[in-house]
Symmetry: C2
Subunit: 303 residues, 2 copies
């Protein structure tokens, strides 16, 4: 008789292609993993995995079984989620992924309110870039993500939260720090400081400055937005800073922030989740709350 355990272990093994790591994912030891997989193979009468040195491989017959097993595991998780929904909105565990250029600035704006309004929610936060978030959403390792649009995956549903305009951040003593609205076209590429490759914010900034290649950019990308801003403050160049950073309380006397001329470059921040998830209501409630917090932070930024 095939059990959920067999299927869960198999899915983990297919994801990691490694008995030890799969076992870890399932919070068991490697012998337990080995035993269950072998039992499943025996029951089905099929070799599901090829044991080889280095990385193991799922056999071609195994692939189909894995696909179905993953669907079953997801369905059962959906049943559990559905049940929790009946308990009320935003109750129980919620795995939330956020891109690194949003997390440190948005969370301070929202977490207190979230905790106050939904005390029974148990958020588990994860911070990675868009690519990983999308993969983890699909795999069901996170329930919902906060990232920048566009998200071009038909299996995901999105909910726009707010428009995050970019501001031009310049050192206060920079001769380029002219007053009045900035113009993206006037930014000299060799002065533009950006995050390292893989951050969507980097791509967006490049797009808005109409720079196709990063060939003649100032430096290799920085690891965090804070680092970039430190570099700006130290006079190494300029950057496009999301208004979100300002609303989160960023204020450095060495940096001048100027809005762009309309149409201002901006990114659209949104929630994304598996369309098949039964927790739509949770996500929509979360979305409303985030949008509300974003708006509430407007005054603070203006001040």
């Amino acid at each position: 008789m095939v059990t959920m355990r067999h299927l869960r272990y198999l899915v983990a093994l297919a994801e990691t292609r490694h008995f030890g790591r799969a076992a870890e994912l399932c919070h068991v030891t490697q012998p337990a993993m080995s035993a269950q997989i072998r039992e499943l193979e025996e029951m089905l009468g099929i070799d599901l995995v090829e044991r080889r040195r280095g990385a193991i491989a799922i056999t071609s017959e195994g692939e189909e079984i894995v696909r179905r097993a993953a669907a079953v595991v997801a369905s059962v998780r959906d049943i559990e989620d559905l049940a929790r929904q009946r308990q009320g909105v935003l109750v129980g565990p919620l795995a939330l992924g956020i891109i690194p250029t949003v997390a440190p600035y948005l969370l301070p704006l929202c977490l207190a309110t979230l905790r106050a309004r939904h005390p029974r929610l148990e958020p588990r936060l994860r911070e990675t870039r868009t690519t990983s978030l999308l993969a983890e959403l699909a795999a069901g390792r996170i329930d919902v993500a906060i990232l920048a649009l566009p998200v071009d995956r038909p299996e995901l549903e999105t909910l726009a939260l707010f428009t995050d305009r970019f501001l031009l951040a310049t050192a206060a003593d920079d001769p380029d720090a002219a007053a009045g609205p900035a113009d993206a076209a006037t930014i000299r590429p060799e002065r533009l400081l950006l995050l390292e490759d893989g951050h969507c914010l980097r791509e967006q900034a490049l797009a808005h400055c109409r720079l196709a290649s990063a060939a003649n950019l100032a430096t290799l990308g920085a690891t965090s937005l804070t680092t970039v801003l430190q570099m700006v403050a130290a006079g190494y160049g300029v950057t496009l800073m999301p208004e979100l950073v300002a609303r989160a309380g960023f204020d450095d006397p060495r940096i001048v922030l100027r809005p762009f001329r309309e149409p201002a470059p901006a990114r659209e921040i949104a929630l994304a989740w598996r369309a098949a998830s039964p927790r739509r209501k949770d996500f929509q409630a979360l979305g409303r709350l985030v949008t509300e917090c974003w708006k509430a932070a407007d005054g603070r930024a203006a001040a």
Copy 2:
């Protein structure tokens, strides 16, 4: 952690609406059933079933969970079936339902061949009328059914096996037993003997004799085709006998069988299975074998 056991038990309970009978379906005792259901309810934090005297009821929240649970249970069974398919065709357990006007005549024609060609097949046979067969197919209690077309269920797939013409069976000493092809229109309703209500063969016979109502039929329906034929032999009337019965070796000196004038009344015997089943190949192989046996029995009938 929700297990397959929880889901299987829940589905059984939803089907039977009775702890004892559900337990029986799952081959466990009633306390085991009670414990698992209660555990599931506790895990999900939802009352799934209303314990009442007489028949229990699934709560409205429970209905949705049951629906999903049934889907999961079916998916897992499909995984097992899929795995068996890889072993070769017609291997392992196969639950086959057959209508009562086919089973006793078709089985002798096929079983020996089936057993010879597919020795590893473990057929589990069930004989009931079309309505039950369709329900059991849908519920997954049987894998495939042999019945008469038409089957008007979009979720089922069918494969026509052979056309089973009706013969007019008359007592040998009946004055109506004229030579030559018979004509359905000449059958006197009060002489027509039929099976009891619920058998598709009865409806087909009525349709072919252009008798809308059964108001002025000879008697209350009989329980089995053999009974009807005994009555014919005894001179109580006539009946429409499927050629299948003849091919199975039926031969009674007291009964004369005559073909009908073309277009002869007939029924189309077919296989039916859940379209979602991964065992199509099994069913098609079974279909080929049955058709072959039907054709092979032609000579015997003519002899």
